[in-house]
């Protein structure tokens, strides 16, 4: 027999209300779903194209975030340097910045006339806006804080004495990072990566502002949903949302079983 824990009412009631609050809009979506036309909607090539683009860009954005975010998190967690508090505050900026403003900011920095973008354009004839790479950049910009914050948390929670032990065994700081620290905080990195991926997948404002909206190139699922709704096709928008939802929930559930459970 397992001992039953009595849940205090002051916790149970808000918890239940919170759940309802989260689930209710989902029920709203399901209620408006035109189930009969669902199969033919699914078969539309635009849907597959947007979905494929979304999966590709959010995965690439997550990889980008891992490459830059994990070292950044490590710096914040392990190295004392002047202005560390400021850097930490700066990293959270994309969290509070409205994504559309984030998109404008990206244009001003990386756009064809932007600070760095103009240099890229002049020297390499390359500009990010309106390209799939631009979508990846916009998504990474918005999702990076999620990764950095959770990985930094994991690093701070990890016992630094393991790194000391590695040092006494002849490991340089780099080796100790790759061979000891990374495996130790792997669950934290995985959790951060999933969060990052989910945020990138749902990204809309920065993407449409920075990368524009063109089917097959920059039109990800959220943009397709918006455009469908804009054209007055609410049912179509609902269907697209459901597809996005179903795919992401499936992937997250699969990852959760594989990565996010601690033994």
């Amino acid at each position: 027999m397992t001992r039953r824990t009595r849940v205090p009412v002051p916790l149970l009631v808000p918890a239940a209300l919170g759940l309802v609050f989260l689930v209710l809009p989902l029920v709203g979506l399901l209620a408006r779903t035109p189930w009969s036309t669902l199969p033919q909607r699914l078969a539309e090539p635009e849907v597959a194209m947007a979905l494929r683009l979304s999966m590709l860009t959010s995965t690439l954005a997550t990889l980008l975030c891992l490459v830059f975010g994990v070292p950044l998190a490590w710096m914040l967690a392990r190295v004392e340097f002047p202005g560390r508090r400021l850097v930490r505050a700066l990293i959270t900026v994309p969290l509070v910045l409205p994504p559309v403003v984030g998109g404008i900011a990206l244009l001003l920095a990386l756009g064809r006339r932007g600070l760095v973008g103009s240099w890229l354009d002049e020297n390499f004839g390359f500009s990010l806006p309106f390209t799939t790479a631009g979508v990846v950049v916009a998504e990474a910009f918005v999702a990076l804080p999620f990764l950095v914050i959770s990985v930094e948390g994991a690093l701070r929670g990890a016992d630094t004495r393991y790194e000391e032990a590695a040092a006494t065994l002849g490991a340089t700081r780099w080796i100790s990072f790759t061979h000891v620290t990374l495996p130790l905080v792997a669950p934290g990195i995985a959790a951060g990566g999933v969060l990052c991926w989910a945020r990138a997948l749902g990204e809309f404002g920065a993407t449409i502002t920075f990368a524009g909206n063109f089917p097959g190139v920059t039109q990800t699922m959220p943009l397709a949903v918006y455009q469908t709704m804009e054209s007055g096709d609410l049912e179509g928008a609902v269907v697209l949302s459901l597809i996005l939802l179903a795919v992401s929930v499936t992937i997250l559930a699969a990852l959760r079983d594989r990565w996010l459970t601690t033994p």
């Binding site: 756009g111 500009s127 309106f130 502002t209 909206n213 063109f214 709704m229 007055g232």
Partner: protein, 253 residues
């Protein structure tokens, strides 16, 4: 004196007279216009309606006009989903028709497309045919939005095919891509190009005659403030409001 005359005109209109101007009207204290009038208006009306709204508020003390500017199709969807609007001003009849609760829409302005280019027209664009080059980046409105539909009609009339790099959700977004220099050209309304004259130049092209947008306005059935809504729609028909619209680059209907 003009101010008062315009206020009176509004009141007269409100009473159902239908006359757009009546200098002989006697001063009246109030026609019962109070509270907040919520106007959902196409993005291309942003500047002119903001000015007109301020005038309307001055003429009707105690009245506040709040605007929601966006792509006409988005506004239509919002209204159909129960957004609390009193008045809807669309950039195309199609979007007005989509709104089931619009009461007898009337056309109050016309708008036509121009090619918005960077200041000084560095790429030397002279017409629609100049937008087909592969090295040229063009932003168009999405087809669902009136400016997108108009662009489609115009390009068809010109017999050219433009491959845009992006399909923007409203005319302002398309214009801002030109302002920022991210694209070389965009098809926008003359009014929008005029409002942004500091940053962009407008290139007129003949085919735009084939794609002139009618701007309808209507009071909505569910209006919370029907009196205020009627008054605002009536005020759009006054000379003073027309002057603002003309100044912005709209044509009379």
């Amino acid at each position: 004196m003009r101010l008062r005359a315009a206020a009176l005109a509004a009141l007269v209109l409100l009473s159902g007279c239908g006359s757009t101007s009546d200098d002989e009207a006697t001063p009246a204290e109030s026609g019962g216009v109070t509270g907040t009038v919520t106007v959902f208006a196409a993005a291309s009306l942003t500047e002119s309606f903001t000015t007109i709204g301020e005038q309307f508020e001055q003429k009707n003390p105690g009245t506040t006009v709040t605007f929601s500017f966006a792509g006409s199709s988005a506004l239509a969807t919002q209204i159909n989903e129960g957004a609390p609007a009193d008045v809807f001003a669309s950039a195309a009849p199609k979007n007005m028709d989509a709104v089931t609760s619009a009461v007898t829409p009337t056309t109050f302005a016309k708008n036509q497309l121009v090619i918005a280019v960077a200041k000084g027209n560095p790429k030397g664009i002279t017409g629609l045919a100049g937008l087909t080059g592969a090295d040229l980046k063009v932003a168009l409105c999405a087809e669902a939005v009136p400016c997108g539909a108009a662009a489609e009609t115009a390009t068809e009339a010109a017999g050219v095919t433009i491959t845009p790099v992006t399909l923007e959700q409203d005319v302002k977004a398309a214009l801002s891509k030109v302002k920022l220099g991210e694209v070389d050209a965009s098809l926008v309304y003359r009014t929008d190009a005029k409002a942004a004259a500091a940053d962009v130049d407008a290139v007129e092209f003949p085919e735009s005659e084939k794609a002139i947008n009618d701007y309808p306005i209507a009071v909505l059935k569910e209006a919370k403030n029907p009196v205020g809504a009627q008054a605002f729609v009536a005020y759009i028909g006054t000379d003073e409001a027309k002057a603002v619209l003309t100044e912005a680059g709209f044509q009379a209907p």
